[in-house]
Amino acid sequence: MRNSREIFAGLYDEFMPKVYRYIHCKVNDEKLTEDLTSTVFEKALVNFASYSRDRAAFSTWILSIARNTLIDHYRTAGKRQHVSLDEAIETPSREPSPQEESEKRAETECLLKCLGGLSEQDQEIIGLKFAAELNNRQIASMLGLSESNVGVRLFRAVKKLREGFEESWNG
């Protein structure tokens, strides 16, 4: 029988990248993402003994902690910083890197900034689907929507994001 350390390690290995990605798409800052990810898992560890699979799947549980951690962060750090798309695209990379990496990084920056321009709910749906890899049922339960509604909103949010990205990337 696996002990609690093995169980926690397995869950960490599976879900840490998802939590990291989810937070990263919200804050777009590597150092801050690492700090907040650490906070999320430290909170999960403290409450791990009381976590029960009967109440929620681990994915939903850990993502709820991540969302609440982000809310706390926004509350203490003030409002979210909105960077204009022009600033985002023109921000040069500090380190020399191959051209493809530089372009990829710029593309990512632009994508994240365009994501920040969507409504809160659209950002949540995209973050929970693409970063946290939750299915529609899990997203629906976290956001208080129907499963079908999540599917519709996801398609439309991706369409809006795509159009915004194309507009800003192609100038």
């Binding site: 560890l45 003994a49 299915n135």
Partner: protein, 255 residues
């Protein structure tokens, strides 16, 4: 396919893409909008942030170390609870027969103690004569005191009115005014107001008032520091064993 089912199908295709499955052209439903969305979904997945290996490993190590500490602390707490129980049980021999015997002896001893305490064992005796204990003195003069304020500024004059009432049915005589004292929070006497030289006679039921004015100076003439004080009147013994007493009056001097 209507819009709604197309949009819901999109989520399924994205889930498949996230799981590493291939979403080929035949599954893009033929329309340009859907295909563009699927291509963009692929781009979103490629642009996702990724934790560095060093961060991943460092955090993992830290968390597992903390989990180990938590488990040790939990085990220690459990053992502490058990040790009390263990110590109690350790007082008894392990063999069941011995435990029953020890338990029986314990119960018998407890029963004997209970019986003895209830006096059921003592032989019956005749009445026992004992002398009465000391009787509280009779209060003949009730004394009350009221200050003009509960708290005073430093240096402000403190005014206290005392009322002395003869609660007996006979006239009484007592030194007037009686000895009065101001005591600080450390029970030190800071100021004494000496008793009057002459005695005053109170008719039965009569009340007399006395106004004391204190300038917040101690017996040496110095301003007392801010704090809590009490006005006290040492008990005065009257004729026939009666007394006059005062409940201490509290007052505060603010800084």
């Amino acid at each position: 396919m209507d819009d709604r089912s197309r949009e819901n199908r999109f989520a399924d295709d994205v889930d498949r893409m996230l799981a590493g499955g291939d979403v080929g052209p035949t599954e893009t439903r033929g329309d340009e909008g859907y295909r563009s969305n699927m291509e963009f979904a692929h781009k979103i997945i490629e642009c996702r942030g990724k934790p560095s290996l060093s961060f991943t490993q460092a955090l993992r190590g830290r968390l597992l170390a903390k989990l180990a500490e938590q488990e040790v602390a939990t085990e220690r707490r459990r053992n502490e609870k058990m040790s009390v129980r263990g110590r109690l049980l350790g007082m008894f021999p392990r063999s069941p027969a011995w435990r029953v015997a020890a338990l029986t002896v314990m119960v018998a001893v407890l029963a004997l103690v209970a019986v003895w305490r209830l006096g059921l064992l003592a032989p019956t005796k005749g009445p026992v004569l004992t002398s009465p204990g000391p009787v509280a003195p009779r209060v003949a003069v009730q004394v009350s005191a009221v200050a003009d304020k509960a708290a005073y500024a430093l240096g402000e004059n403190v005014g206290i009115r005392f009322e002395f009432r003869n609660v007996t049915s006979e006239p009484l005589s007592m030194p007037f005014p009686p000895l009065l004292r101001i005591v600080n929070a450390n029970e030190e006497i800071v100021r004494s107001f000496t008793a009057g030289q002459d005695a005053k006679t109170f008719a039965a039921g009569e009340s007399l008032t006395y106004d004391l004015s204190w300038n917040q100076r101690d017996d040496a003439g110095n301003q007392v520091p801010p704090g809590d004080y009490q006005v006290r009147m040492p008990m005065v013994r009257l004729a026939g064993g009666a007394v006059a007493g005062l409940e201490p009056l509290a007052l505060t001097i603010r800084p």
